[in-house]
């Protein structure tokens, strides 16, 4: 009894309270993968609940919309294939964001890079070259990469040499490129005898082939391979190592003789190039012509994928497929009243909730066993 009083007077107050609880909360230095995944799922579920409230508030039936979306996309072959096609450019764009982020750069210009990649690939396709299909597609891939890389490179120059914030330059370039594409499809690229602002349909030898009868185009596989390849190179190669040192601590990079300028330029070329290939795949695999608005809010969605995946290669693949499914679902469900903007709302909510939960992922609950003295 007396001992207890002394104990309590010595210990700080919060301890005496927490000592009575049947569990204690301990802080780890690093969160475990399990904790991260668990809290991510809780974040997604919470976001869906808040999203449901939004839907209710705007006079829609959330349960109907959610279940129908899910069943229309993830239980039908058509839905699954559409999601795969939609995920193709998305995972490349997200990989672009991820690669740049590993080097400490925020490439939020993947939409512009994606569009210029698409334009460059379209340019090749519209030449109607008389060569085998795989040569044209290869040329289109190269053109897409170079197109995207060019835009990213333009934004990387002021960053590398003048330390101009790349977030502002890459983002503003999205708007510039959107207007540029509008100019092209209204003018020089407009298909002959066509009143709609879009290019002529590509010749079939510049279409990415379908995989069997799945309805999924070959780009899906190529994209997965590229994302894995570049994720692996960032981890295992010396150039990836250099980029990560630059991203983590530019002073340390300078100290070990790694060129910061060279690595900024190089990583942005890769990042933009990946997004550009995404553009090529969208026009060559799905749209088969160039037009405006082939993927609205591409930057925001790709950014969301990269951060929900926590800049992890496998995560990018999974999350881009799931978000693509959601986008396809929203498109299908527009009749029922699920506007595609709902996907943006959910993306924003999920990121915010996951950021909020980050602070708790490092804690773990440890249950006390019985009343052992």
């Amino acid at each position: 009894m007396l001992n207890e009083v002394i104990e309590n007077s010595k210990a700080p107050q919060k301890n005496s309270f927490s000592q009575r609880l049947p569990f204690s909360i301990e802080k780890r230095q690093f969160p475990t993968t399990g904790a991260v995944i668990m809290w991510s799922i809780i974040g997604v579920v919470l976001a869906l609940i808040i999203g449901a409230i939004f839907l209710l508030a705007t006079g829609r039936d959330p349960i109907e919309i959610y279940t129908l979306t899910f069943s229309k996309v993830f239980t039908t072959p058509y839905g699954l294939a559409s999601a795969a096609n939609k995920a193709t450019p998305l995972m490349l764009g997200a990989a672009g964001v991820m690669v740049a982020a590993k080097a400490g750069l925020w490439n939020v210009g993947v939409e512009g890079q994606f569009l210029v990649g698409a334009v460059a690939a379209s340019g090749v396709a519209l030449l109607n070259l008389n060569v085998p299909s795989f040569v044209i597609i290869l040329l289109m891939l190269v053109a897409g990469f170079l197109g995207g890389a060019l835009v990213a490179f333009i934004c990387a120059l002021p960053k590398a040499y003048l330390k101009v914030n790349e977030i502002i330059t890459t983002l503003l370039f999205n708007y510039i490129v959107v207007l540029f594409v509008a100019y092209l499809v209204h003018g020089p690229m407009k298909g002959a005898g066509n009143n709609v602002p879009q290019s002529a349909v590509f010749a079939e030898n510049s279409w990415l082939p379908q995989i069997g009868s799945t309805g999924i185009h070959l780009g899906f596989i190529i994209a997965i391979i590229m994302v894995i390849l570049f994720g692996w190179l960032m981890r295992k190669s010396t150039f990836g190592f250099e980029m990560r040192v630059v991203g983590n601590n530019p002073k340390a990079a300078k100290y070990t003789g790694i060129s910061i300028i060279r690595n900024i330029l190089l990583v942005m070329i890769i990042s933009g190039g990946l997004a550009g290939i995404g553009g090529m795949m969208e026009v060559s695999g799905v749209v088969h012509r160039m037009q405006s608005g082939i993927f609205t809010n591409f930057t925001l969605t790709a950014f969301a994928v990269a951060w929900l995946a926590r800049l992890n290669t496998a995560g990018v693949l999974v999350v881009s497929y799931l978000l693509a499914g959601l986008l396809v679902g929203a498109y299908v469900m527009q009749i029922v009243g699920m506007p595609s903007a709902m996907v943006n709302v959910l993306e924003g909510l999920i990121i915010m909730l996951i950021v909020a939960f980050d602070i708790v992922t490092v804690y773990r609950i440890k249950w006390k066993r019985g009343n052992s003295k």
Partner: protein, 507 residues
């Protein structure tokens, strides 16, 4: 002269403060009398600053009580401490650099009204600066002031805010001997005017010349309390470091090896980013020589280290490493030529905190052969390489794939020193290698450096601590405002002469 048992200004009872498992303060009891200069003596990491941060409400003690002027005091925030008349001048000044002196002084003071155009405040401050002879331009921006003037701003700020109990944390570390002397006069004067001064230091001579009472701390505990007039330097030194010293013998073999580094007439480029410009630097180092660079920090030592390790371009002059002219070559060339560099800001410059321990271990070697082949890093080899460093230099690390930020300060220190030495350098640039570590760590660093000397490595040893330089180095030179004095042997000079050079009084 010394008021023996006057009023008690501050009494701290049973203060304990833990960081994780480490008790930075363990059951501290302390009485401080009014109108005295009370010194807190101890090595770095002894817990002095922590104790004072508890007193000023910046840290919350895990347990213990504080009484101010005999009344129990509840200090939970800096605001409370100010209310009790406690003010602290931190080692790193708490000043907002882009603001003016006046703005800094009135910042957060309840005496100032909503509008800043405040004549009353200005007059009160002028009156204060006149009374204590602390003149300063009130409208100058703090970032344009010298270190001594910034400290003065800090002191005026505390007085304006009504501090009767003023804590100064290592106030002379940034001052020249001359400036320090001025500060001591001011402190004695202020104390005799009835204010209480708590003076934190690890320099024994300072304490003997300025203090009334001294409390000695070691490893978070109080190990002694004395009247200054009843004690001696030897006495205090014994208390402060008792049992922690294991003497390292310096090899006194001084054969003149071949020359490995020569700097001729080095000037660095003019820029506006706050760097000191080196002017007319001449220095040569021989194999197996430890050359100390003394000086108050911020006089160009960092810039010198950067020039020698290839991180900073020169405007004029020539650098020869070994036999090769290396002027304005890229950093990698310097690394390949065998220049290793323990940077001043170890975590900020020498390591990438978010990368793994292995990746930090190979930071200098990631491009060389067994570690990387055909542009791909072999992580098995890399792991082995890092394990060697960890074993040899006793770095405590559990999982090598974890980010290096998981290591504690001392282990980071050992890791970076180990890595830099492991590459078999020809020249080792060690910038403040012992700053901020405990005495056992200091001894370990010294013995590592002696090992290198024995292997024939030339060491450029930069330190603010003159005693350390005198103890460790074969030769030494002093930096002052970008100039470097001639190299001499410790036996050919005196502490006084070096002190004058550090203050720019001798050129």
């Amino acid at each position: 002269m010394v008021k023996q048992n006057g009023e008690i200004a501050v009494e701290m009872k049973h203060i304990t403060k833990k960081f994780g498992n480490l008790a930075a303060n363990n059951d501290i009891n302390l009485k401080i009398y009014k109108g005295q200069v009370h010194c807190l003596l101890g090595e770095n990491g002894a817990g002095k600053s922590t104790l004072m941060n508890v007193l000023t409400g910046l840290y919350k003690a895990d347990c213990g009580e504080i009484e101010i002027n005999g009344q129990p005091a509840n200090i939970h925030s800096p605001k409370d401490a100010i209310g009790y008349g406690i003010g602290m001048v931190h080692q790193h000044f708490r000043l907002v650099k882009p603001l003016t002196v006046l703005e800094n002084i009135i910042l957060g003071s309840p005496k100032v009204g909503f509008w800043l155009n405040n004549k009353a405040a200005r007059e009160e401050i002028m009156e204060l600066t006149d009374r204590y002879d602390l003149h300063i331009d009130l409208d100058a921006k703090v970032e344009s002031l010298s270190v001594g003037e910034q400290q003065r701003t800090e002191i005026i700020k505390q007085m304006y805010r009504g501090a009767n109990i003023m804590i100064l944390d290592e106030p002379t570390a940034v001052l020249t001997p001359e400036e320090a002397e001025k500060l001591f006069v001011f402190l004695r004067q202020t104390a005799s005017a009835g204010k209480t001064i708590i003076f934190i230091s690890h320099k024994l001579r300072e304490i003997m010349s300025v203090g009334d009472k001294v409390t000695i701390m070691r490893k978070g505990q109080i190990v002694g309390a004395k009247d200054v007039k009843d004690t001696s330097v030897e006495d205090l030194a014994g208390l402060m470091i008792e049992g922690t010293i294991s003497e390292v013998k310096k090899q006194s073999v001084e054969k003149d090896g071949a020359e490995v580094l020569r700097l001729t007439d080095i000037y660095t480029l003019h820029d506006d980013s706050g760097n000191v410009n080196l002017e007319n630097i001449n220095l040569c180092l021989n194999e197996g020589e430890i050359c100390g660079i003394a000086g108050v920090s911020g006089n160009g030592q960092r810039e010198l280290a950067e020039v020698v390790s290839g991180l900073r371009f020169c405007d004029k002059g020539e650098i020869i490493v070994g036999q090769k002219v290396m002027t304005n070559q890229c950093t990698r060339k310097f690394i390949q030529a065998g220049v290793s560099h323990i940077p001043e800001d170890r975590l900020g410059t020498g390591l990438a905190a978010g990368l793994s321990i292995i990746e930090n271990g190979i930071l200098k070697e990631y491009k060389s052969k067994p570690i990387s082949v055909h542009g791909l890093i072999n992580y098995k080899v890399a792991k082995k390489y890092t394990e060697e460093i960890i074993e040899q230099y006793k770095v405590k690390a559990e999982n090598l794939n974890r980010p290096i930020s998981a290591l504690s300060g001392g282990n980071l220190q050992r890791m970076i020193i180990g890595r830099e030495i492991n590459g078999d350098p020809k020249i080792l640039v060690a910038a403040q290698p012992t700053r901020g570590i405990d005495i056992a760590g200091v001894k370990m660093v010294h013995s590592m450096i002696f090992d290198q000397k024995a292997k024939g490595v030339a060491v450029l040893f930069i330190s603010e601590d003159l005693d350390e330089i005198m103890e460790v180095c074969d030769t030494l030179a002093v930096m002052y405002q970008g100039h470097l004095s001639q190299k001499v042997r410790p036996s050919e000079t005196t502490i006084e002469e070096i002190g004058l050079r550090m203050g720019g009084a001798l050129c």
